[in-house]
């Protein structure tokens, strides 16, 4: 066991950034190695973390998931008199929800670092920002305190903004600003909910210490917590003793809500006649849906992808989009489970719309990278559909899809990057028959394309299959989704094959031809060793996880089963209470 | 016996003359002289009114103070005028209007 493994993973890039600042400009070729080595160790540590993580942990009653390897420390504590006490914690932990994402981030960030070798201006700034991004991504996935989460979540925008805005393509300013504003717009909703939660939720353990039930937090027993919760419920506790918290684990328990506060289920706060808790779910949903992205909040994605440099595209598609899905799973669903139950139809519908709409759009795209970007929209629709079903298969499928899409979209963007490196052009119609010139490249492309549209044997198939099973079964298990949604989603699978195969036919096979009047032909050489070293591992991982799903599912399935059960049970119970009150 | 009225009359005349000098004369020396006249007009009043205070003679004492202060004031005033003259090359108050708003 390694102590402080989580913090190590998160903050490893910080000394690396300092090191970058010390290396003189004259030695700028060293920068990329610093980044590569740092992310390599992050990857190694995430693999170690993954191996240490126990798939089946002891069952704790009522817990949504079973957190492991917790790292908790008080960060900010303020006594605010009659406003109670403010408590912000440095709180990291892993469970079935984020372990896959950590592994994915470790892999993709390392691959992205290798891909960054091609960056040819402002080396120091680029690599510093890249490492900063790495820290924020891991921080975001690991933090269990909403305040901490939000800091990482927002801080991620800064490096992304500059990475697209400085090292991007011709329309980089437009794309980076669009990306920034879009995401910030979503964050505002999230922030509002976080503030509301802060005022509504108390930390029963610290409150117990405050009212003198115990003299130290470590000595607080479950009975004491119960007593605090019970006294809180009847309004016996004085405001002075209350400890307001951002700790996510307390937010999932309705007993920790202050009676009469905004998000207390019986408080009856409404907005436009809708209960505040449902509104809060919607607000969180919009915030994270923009990141995912879900149609109609998706138009930043194609622009950002097209303009971003290859490594940033890889990270954007491979990791950043997953934060949207992860945020929904980590915050929106457990904290407001009734929202997930109440809006399941809507969410499922948006998922299906994203799948089909994204696929149709991909079909119409002329730019290879844009086509891939829209295919991401389509694939992320499956994440939403699986989540909306709230079945064991569906939610596991969602995580699997995020993981698998992370690998595959990374691969796809590397493929687009290879072509762009050689010709600075990605228009599908400008090429034909690349297979004769670049056989290895086209072989890898074929594998990636087939994997992406869910050919069995690749990870995408397992993911989509599980999502479809979950969505289809939801009718008989919890009656949240109608069967036609799963059936409609299969059309997306069909369309996926259409646009990928079409591109394959138009661009990569047939007689060799490039747009006349350009001197690309000599430049079109096959993959270099460095490019192969990035692509082959991704392809191999996609196959490995396609054939042996238990590699991932054994780690997450136990947690996800209790997660689904908890969400469904408390969701239905809360919803009944809400409807009774409203 | 000269009545109080006469004293006051002369004092008033003296005051008016001093005032008129101050208002009309352009040369600062003359204005200083005008001021002296006004002070003396005041002195005259003090002396005249001291008739009603035969024991302490506060009026006469006061006028003595005024004379001394007037002397000092004349000295300071003349010194200022000299400095002003050496700076502005004139003693004409109309030409010294740096304080004009």
């Amino acid at each position: 066991m390694m102590p402080y493994l989580l913090s190590l993973i998160v903050f490893l890039p910080v000394p690396a950034i300092l090191l970058l600042l010390l290396i003189p400009q004259a030695k700028r070729s060293w920068y990329k190695y610093v980044t590569a080595v740092t992310t390599f160790f992050q990857m190694v540590f995430s693999v170690i973390l993954y191996l240490q993580f126990e798939g089946v942990a002891g069952a704790a009653e009522g817990a949504v998931t079973h957190l492991q390897l917790l790292e908790v420390a008080d960060w900010i504590n303020l006594k605010l008199g009659s406003w109670g006490n403010l408590s912000i914690e440095y709180f990291l932990g892993v469970d079935g929800l984020n372990i896959a994402m950590i592994l994915l981030s470790g892999i993709i960030l390392f691959i992205g670092a290798i891909s960054s070798f091609r960056i040819d201006k402002n080396h120091r700034a680029y690599h510093s920002l890249y490492l900063l991004l790495s820290t924020t991504i891991f921080g975001c996935f690991l933090s269990l305190d909403l305040f901490l989460f939000f800091i990482f979540f927002e801080f991620m925008l800064l490096p992304m903004y500059f990475l697209i805005g400085i090292w991007g393509g011709p329309r980089r300013e437009y794309a980076s600003i669009k990306f920034f504003i879009y995401t910030l717009f979503g964050s505002v909703f999230i922030l509002l909910v976080i503030i509301g939660l802060y005022f509504s939720v108390i930390d029963p353990v610290k409150t117990a210490v405050n009212i003198g039930l115990s003299d130290a937090q470590e000595k607080v027993t479950a009975d004491m917590v119960l007593e605090v919760q019970q006294r809180l419920g009847v309004g016996e506790l004085d405001d002075v003793y209350l400890v307001h918290t951002f700790n996510l684990t307390y937010m999932t328990d309705v007993n920790n809500y202050l009676p009469g506060s905004v998000f207390h289920y019986a408080a009856g706060w409404t907005l436009f006649g809708v209960d505040a808790r449902l509104i809060a779910f919607l607000a969180l949903f919009i915030g994270f849906a923009i990141k995912l992205p879900v149609v109609p909040f998706h138009t930043w994605l194609p622009d950002a992808h097209v303009e971003a440099p290859t490594p940033v595209s890889v990270i954007l598609a491979g990791v950043l989009l997953k934060i949207g899905g992860y945020g929904l799973m980590r915050i929106a669903y457990p904290v407001f489970p009734e929202g997930g139950v109440y809006f399941s139809y809507l969410i499922g519908l948006l998922g299906v719309v994203s799948i089909i709409y994204g696929a149709f759009n991909a079909l119409a795209m002329k730019d290879l990278k844009k086509m891939i970007a829209y295919s991401s929209v389509s694939h992320m629709g499956f994440v939403l559909l699986g989540l909306a079903s709230l079945t064991v298969e569906g939610v596991n499928g969602s995580i699997y899809q995020m993981f698998s899409h992370g690998l595959l979209s990374g691969l796809l963007f590397l493929i687009a990057g290879v072509l762009y490196d050689r010709t600075h052009d990605r228009i599908i119609e400008n090429y034909r028959g690349l297979a004769s010139k670049m056989p290895v490249y086209v072989t890898v492309t074929t594998v990636a394309f087939f994997a992406s549209f869910g050919l069995p044997g690749f990870s995408g198939f397992i993911a989509e299959m599980l999502v479809l099973l979950g969505a289809f079964n939801a009718t008989s298990i919890n009656e949240l989704l109608p069967r036609w949604m799963a059936i409609a989603a299969t059309i997306g699978i069909l369309l996926g094959a259409v646009y990928f195969l079409w591109t394959l036919q138009k661009m990569f096979f047939g007689r060799f031809w490039v747009k006349p009047g350009v001197e690309w032909e000599e430049g079109l050489m096959d993959l270099t060793a460095r490019e192969k070293s990035m692509m082959l591992p991704l392809a191999i991982l996609a196959i490995t996880f396609g054939l042996f799903p238990s590699l991932l599912l054994d780690k997450i399935a136990f947690d996800m089963s209790s997660y689904v059960e908890a969400i469904i049970n408390s969701g239905k119970a809360n919803l009944a209470l809400l409807l009774k009150n409203g | 016996m000269i009545e109080l009225k006469e004293y006051l009359l002369i004092s008033a005349i003296l005051f008016i003359i001093g005032l008129m000098i101050i208002i009309t004369k352009r040369n600062s020396i003359f204005i200083l002289i005008g001021i002296e006249l006004i002070l003396n007009a005041a002195n005259l009043n003090f002396v005249a009114f001291s008739k009603y205070d035969p024991v302490q003679l506060q009026g006469q004492v006061f006028s003595l103070f005024i004379i001394i202060i007037a002397a000092a004031e004349a000295a300071v005033g003349l010194a200022i005028i000299l400095k002003v003259y050496s700076y502005f090359r004139t003693a004409n108050v109309d030409e010294i209007d740096d304080l004009k708003g």
Partner: protein, 703 residues
């Protein structure tokens, strides 16, 4: 009632372990040849062939061991992964039909491998060809062995992939690439249906294990199965079959698939993969209810005819066989629909041999044509003729007698002439359709049921016609290319029989197309060993119970008429001018074109599916750039406009007020400053006036 509790883990025994070995060997071959093919002797072709040969021997062992065990099915099942309570498993199931299929697949694959060594010699990307064949064989064996329908689906898609790779093997040819894409996509339409069927099964039974589901379903009676659920699930699975087995209306991909190398067509698009649909029906047969079976029968009958009609008028030597395959697959599916389970599978097996043989002999002809083209080129004649066009062939009987013999035997089997294998299986189907129709007619009173046997019989005639047409055009009369190029005759004269590597598979397959191979009594299907090995999971029409001696008689008569017609028409055509062919064949040019272009289905789909699809894509893309992004831009523009308004207000209203205060102060200052002239005497005067005023004021105050 769920079936998941019936799923027990079962260890591998000898038979299943051997079966697993048969499955993994071709995969191994694929990996070795794909990555190291260039380095192995002869680019690995012999290695790949040998591996499949071993598989064939193992398959025989599996078959024998299974027969000895006396069990209906031997299953091994291991866990794959689990989600909470849901357990996902992988299973290998050896049944009689699976064992037979194993032999058929590995045997034909082995022969095709061998044939390909010669056929593909010197072709571009030769080192890629054998790994792909290995991949296909692996996937096909997977379909055969897997008892888990999800795993079956995975292999199902994998054969689609290998079919894609092999159809588009000559990837520099645009038509080949297009055909491969089309094949995959059309198949995927069917696969989507298959997937939906699987979803239904899983949601109903909680498992993918067919054996477990069967244990539950076999307790159901007809009424239990009449629910819409079974109909939809059955139709979904049937859709998979429609795609893969090229049934109407998805048969359009198979003729195009002929772009692939001919041995590939023989193996994948004639003998094995396309028959996988029928095999799938056999595997899931217990799920089908009366409604589903009726639909299956109708689709099969339509396909039978829809395949045969275009075959009459094709010029491409391979396309005739492709359409013929569609037609024969229609027979099998129709047989499944009329509950002639054994007959359908029997026809599957016999068809696999004779159709592979047909393709390989036709491949030999094409091979010769390539040589002729090549030789003409060497002589300085660059002739751009289509070496698959039957109109320029003819007379190959003389130079390739073995090929002709093989072709003749297999075509007789196709027509269903007695003594040949096709007679046994096809007549079993014809009998079954007749029995089924008469039983239904007597039950429901509607004579429309007779349409199905009628179609089947008419198709016997058409089959005989088109195959004899082909035989005549290719093997009889003279070499017609010489009509256009005199030099061709000389080159043709120097052609000779194909080498032994190609000849051996032809001979073996034609032997397998003889009736003796399947029955001691080549006139009676009941005497065949095959029908005693397979047993329908639901009560159906087994060949033993069939009667009606007139059926084979009628079919023979139909076939004879067809053969005769084909001979008459094409004797005339080939001897006269070629252009007269259309008119002699069919009265109407339109009907001719209608058949020639496969009923214009491609055009139809282009109009009703592809074009609207692309239009929708254009609309969504415009929605994105105009509506969604337009909205976003509108928001951003209005934000900026609003910001400008705010800036204006700030500048002129808020700042204006502040400035106003300043201006007032300044003006006041100016007014008051004008008093301050710097003239000491004026100050005196002001003071004086002020004092006077003060005095006056005080005076007034006192009074």
């Amino acid at each position: 009632m769920l079936a998941s509790h019936l799923v027990k883990m079962l260890p591998f025994d000898t038979v299943t372990a051997l079966a697993l070995g048969i499955l993994t060997l071709p995969l191994l071959s694929f990996f070795i040849l794909f990555f190291y093919g260039k380095k192995i002797f002869h680019k690995g072709d012999w290695f790949g062939t040998a591996i499949i040969g071993i598989c064939f021997l193992l398959s025989i062992a599996v078959f024998v061991l299974h027969q000895q065990s006396g069990l209906e099915s031997i299953i091994a099942r291991v866990p794959w992964f689990s989600l909470g309570k849901a357990k996902f498993t992988v299973s290998v199931s050896v049944t009689s039909i699976a064992a037979i299929m194993l032999i058929v697949v590995t045997f034909i694959s082995f022969l095709v491998h061998m044939y390909s060594i010669e056929y593909m010699k010197g072709k571009l990307n030769y080192e890629r060809y054998f790994p792909y064949l290995g991949l296909f064989t692996f996937a096909m064996i997977g379909i055969v062995l897997s008892d888990n329908i999800l795993i079956t689906f995975m292999f199902w898609e994998l054969v689609g992939l290998s079919s894609y790779l092999l159809i588009g093997f000559w990837f520099e040819k645009d038509s080949a690439v297009k055909a491969s894409k089309k094949a995959f996509l059309v198949n995927r339409i069917g696969d989507v249906g298959f997937l939906i069927g699987i979803l239904f099964l899983y949601s109903r039974f909680g498992t993918f294990e067919l054996n477990a589901i069967y244990e539950v379903v076999k307790t159901f009676d007809a009424e239990d199965k009449s629910y819409l659920f079974f109909t939809i699930a059955g139709l979904g699975i049937f859709m998979g079959c429609v795609g893969k087995s090229a049934q109407f209306p998805l048969q359009i991909w198979l003729p195009d698939a002929m772009e692939g190398p001919t041995p590939v067509s023989a193996l994948i698009h004639a003998a094995t993969m396309v028959a996988a649909g029928v095999y799938l029906l056999a595997k899931t047969y217990f799920l089908f209810n009366e409604d589903t079976l009726l639909i299956i029968a109708v689709i099969g009958a339509v396909t039978t005819l829809a395949g045969a009609l275009p075959a009459m008028v094709q010029h491409d030597i391979k396309k005739v066989l492709a359409f013929s395959t569609i037609s024969q697959l229609g027979y099998m599916v129709m047989a499944m629909g009329v509950k002639a389970y054994e007959a359908a599978l029997f026809h599957l097996v016999t068809h696999a041999f004779f159709k592979a043989c047909l393709f390989l002999s036709v491949g030999a002809v094409i091979h010769a044509m390539h040589h002729i083209k090549h030789d003409l080129f060497l002589k300085g004649n660059y002739l751009n003729f289509d070496s698959q066009d039957m109109r320029i062939m003819g007379g190959f009987k003389k130079i390739m007698p073995v090929t002709f013999a093989a072709y003749f035997i297999s075509s007789m089997a196709l027509v269903g002439v007695p003594l040949f294998s096709g007679f046994l299986s096809k007549d079993a189907i014809l009998l079954a359709t007749w029995d089924w129709a008469s039983a239904n007619v007597s039950k429901n009173g509607s004579i429309t049921y007779y349409l199905i046997p009628a179609t089947a019989f008419v198709t016997v005639f058409i089959t005989a016609f088109y195959i004899f047409r082909q035989m005549y055009l290719v093997f009889f009369t003279d070499f017609r290319l010489a009509d256009f190029y005199k030099e061709a005759n000389e080159v043709f004269g120097r052609m000779h029989e194909v080498p032994w590597l190609m000849r051996f598979p032809l001979i073996v397959l034609s032997v397998c197309s003889l009736g003796f191979a399947f029955s001691i009594n080549p006139f009676s299907v009941n005497a065949s060993w095959f029908v005693h090995l397979v047993k329908s999971p639901i009560p159906g029409i087994s060949p033993e119970g069939l009667h009606g001696a007139w059926v084979p008689v009628l079919s023979i008569v139909m076939a004879a008429i067809g053969l005769f017609m084909g001979y008459r028409v094409y004797k005339e055509v080939a001897e006269n001018n070629f252009k007269a062919m259309r008119r002699t064949l069919l009265a109407s040019e339109n009907v001719y074109l209608f058949f020639k272009n496969n009923f214009f289905l491609d055009k139809l789909y282009k109009t009703i599916i592809i074009k609207p699809g692309i239009a929708v894509a254009a609309v969504t893309s415009r929605t994105d750039s105009k509506l969604v992004d337009g909205f976003i831009h509108f928001i951003s523009v209005s934000t900026v406009v609003f910001a400008h308004i705010v800036a204006w207000v700030d500048k002129y209203v808020v700042d204006g007020l502040v400035n106003l205060v300043a201006i007032v102060a300044q003006a006041t200052g100016k007014v008051t400053a004008s008093i301050q002239k710097g003239k000491i005497q004026s100050y005196f005067i002001f003071t004086l006036i002020a004092v006077i005023l003060l005095v006056l004021f005080l005076y007034g105050l006192l009074n």
